[in-house]
Symmetry: C2
């Protein structure tokens, strides 16, 4: 391995034509062999969805040039990682799975709704060190120029240090502004939720329909959270796991009377 | 509250016409006022997907009779809970959100892919005690007759004891067989993954397509896991949380050198 370039699988949720994946591929290609399997259309908010009951399409793409093996896939980000692993890469194992760079933050509870992070967590479940990258800027024309040095630094450190099995890093990078980025902070996921509003409209046939809109509510003032770090203009790094068990509650629940007589 | 019946919101991922939600509504209606908002089509494997960029439809349904307020929704299970909370229930707060009964197990890592559990976890994120129920039988014609006593017992205990904020219970009930169900076990989520195979076929236009198939691989022999409990014919109950942070890794990651010079 010492003399070989590492193999890095790249996916995202904004689709293979998004500016964010182009920035990620360009950053990664300087330090590794890159294979891309990414959705052929935007898949934001897809959470950890997988495609059941419908077949998937996979089409080779030259969007990143002739040097980079790339496919667009009709499925979700999690589907892309599964297909990459089991079909595109055959018996080769990636040294790292990276996803993004997402157009928009995936901090706090957004990690659950995020297609970007589902690709990274899928990579972790399948046994590979994985990282999801997001830029705190929803614009399709977002400026990713400042992300490269952080993306490369974090990838290099993961390749050097490794990650325990089943762990994916959730990395959020502040939007480019006049304020300098202060550095990188290891954080926990802030407790928060989306306060939704549904905007009700009536279609030309007089039937109602609803647009989901929402505002994130941070319920957590902890200075060890991703929300705090991003507000202070740090890059936030949260180690994420696929185990949702609330281990601290197991004892209390064992005192409950749940048995049917 | 003492003299009022509790208000329970019901959703699922197999769609409003599935046998499993009928079994759940029937079980819940004996102990509570029921409001149903469920998908108008199967949404298995949707994970914690939400609908962004498309509007949602909501149509009243009388599938559960005139007594029960029910709506079918064009969105995902998580959308259903959001729309129920913010539109159907208006200023009323449910005492409990329940989802299911899923046709098929949602144990171990399947909790991440599960639409059933995403509805329950969405309820928990929004601040309500929540439970997802699954039957370990994928058949559309599955026999749910034995689930009622467990569903009612667990719901009654949650209504009595409450759940800490942000917690959803993941309940899996063994399939009905000649073996007696041994009781209810509080468990942690087993470590495991789906070993996928993609079946490649060629369509009539000579283009390839892929069917996702997979087999669950349990990597965890712990007798405190949901997989162990279900194999032993217990009902498994795992408390789940929306915080994916691998807290035990924060210290080690803080030793890394992630700063860009």
């Amino acid at each position: 391995m010492q003399n070989e370039r590492p193999l890095i699988l790249v996916s995202n949720d904004d689709g293979i034509t998004a500016k964010g994946i182009e920035a990620l591929v360009n950053a990664v290609a300087e330090i590794a062999e890159v294979v891309v399997v990414a959705p052929n259309k935007p898949q934001s908010g897809m959470g950890h969805a997988i495609t059941i009951g419908q077949p998937l399409r996979l089409t080779q793409s030259h969007i990143f040039g002739q040097e980079i093996l790339a496919y667009e896939c009709s499925g979700t980000p999690a589907d892309c990682v599964k297909l990459a692993r089991h079909y595109v890469l055959h018996d080769r194992s990636p040294d790292l799975v990276v996803s993004g760079i997402n157009h928009g933050a995936n901090s706090s509870v957004s990690v659950l709704y995020s297609g970007t992070m589902s690709a990274a967590i899928e990579g972790a479940i399948e046994g590979y060190p994985s990282i999801g990258f997001s830029l705190c800027d929803f614009s399709h024309k977002a400026d990713f120029s400042h992300t490269k040095e952080y993306v490369q630094r974090i990838i290099r450190e993961v390749l050097t240090q490794g990650l325990p099995e089943g762990i994916a890093l959730n990395v959020n990078i502040p939007k480019l502004t006049d304020r300098p980025i202060k550095g990188v902070r290891i954080c926990r996921q802030a407790k928060g939720h989306w306060a939704e509003e549904f905007e009700e409209r009536v279609d030309p046939y007089n039937r109602p329909y609803f647009w989901l809109t929402g505002k994130f509510v941070n319920q957590d003032n902890g200075q060890d959270t991703d929300e705090w770090a991003l507000a202070e203009n740090y890059v936030s790094v949260v180690p994420c796991q696929a185990d949702l068990t609330a281990h601290h509650l197991l004892g209390a629940l064992n005192q409950w009377n749940l048995n049917v007589v």
